[in-house]
């Protein structure tokens, strides 16, 4: 795939203190470092090794990721928000690249 593209699903609104479900997906080969090419050379590992979800600057949830996570990594988790604000999602690649996405939520 070209540049990894993130996809996130966050409810648009929630009640204060409600526990919501967040789903995230990002396109990425997650090259495990176990595969060999047609000449027998090991294809080097290149994965997303960290995922973080912040809300209004505070960490909600994070993952430390090994090559056993499938390509196009999917993470589903929960968040409990007391006020309106912005979720920020960050994926960190082995090569140092950082991919980001943002979603706002209105808390009533």
């Amino acid at each position: 795939m070209a540049t990894p593209r993130p996809r996130v699903k966050v409810p648009k609104t929630a009640a204060a203190g409600e526990v919501i479900t967040i789903k995230t997906l990002i396109s990425h080969d997650m090259e495990s470092g176990q595969r060999k090419d047609s000449e027998g050379n090991t294809i080097p590992r290149k994965i997303i090794n960290k995922f973080t979800c912040d809300f209004n600057g505070q960490t909600v949830f994070s993952c430390d990721i090994d090559p056993a996570i499938s390509a196009n990594p999917y993470f589903e988790f929960n968040a409990k928000v007391a006020e309106s604000g912005t979720f920020k999602f960050t994926w960190v690649d082995d090569d140092g690249s950082v991919y980001e996405a943002e979603e706002k939520i209105e808390v009533k």
């Binding site: 997906l25 990002i26 196009n72």
Partner: protein, 295 residues
Amino acid sequence: MRRGAWEGLPVRGKFAAIGAGVLVASALAFSAVQAEPVDETLSIDGVEMTTRAKAQEGLPFDEVLSGWLFREAETRQLEADSFENPGMLYVERGEEIWNTVEGPAGQSCASCHGDAAESMAGIAAHYPKWDADSQRPINIELRIDKCRVEHMGLEPYKFDSDDQKALTTYIKHQSLGEPVNLDLAEGDMQSWWERGKERYYLRTGQLNFACASCHEANSGQYIRADHLSQGQANGFPTYRLKQADMVSLHNRLRGCIRDTRAETPAAFSDELMALEVYLTWRGTGLSVETPAVRQ
């Protein structure tokens, strides 16, 4: 087009080490275990897909079934959720390509075709079509190439390039839910249909299998641990869990033929275009499911 089963067919590198005896043994390993395709309906974003339809006249069975019905619950669920379906990442990438100017003519797909949701709505359900210019059937991949060459000043896509798969997936996705329906009266489509039918039932390769050997005679049975579907084309390009990537129809046809240990025809060759016509026709009435999720 006849091929002898044992006449020194080239065997691809990695299979050369497998003894012929093992191949024969696995050929006989169709499990006697039968499993019914599930009795469930597929709804994507509230739109119900047609996964069962009356078989076309002339087919030796009553109902055509989508491959979705033969998969495990988790796989079925992945396709039913348009957020979780990893194939949708490729639809998004395809949309990006659609809107990107490329080539010396300074055009993007959108330059001529505007909003794909409008201009491409429902059309993929009627492909492959007859192409008078090339005097052969044309599928979506080749139609894209035709536009690239004739209107954008570009080279055709390399077969199975990421961009080709993404754009094909995006265009076919605009026909999601639409029932497959080909016009065999156009041009010479009927004679290509005949050739495709002949190929479908032709046994080839060291394993001496025809498409029909697995997908008609043994659909519903298990080949090793795989639940054999009818091998329909309505979900392609498909997100295959095995590759964790989009798989095009011609890639799958070549894969299946390779697995019978036969020489693999080239993508978009006459042989495979004829087969695509016939194969797509077999699924008449089933909804386009692109991007389907399969094993």
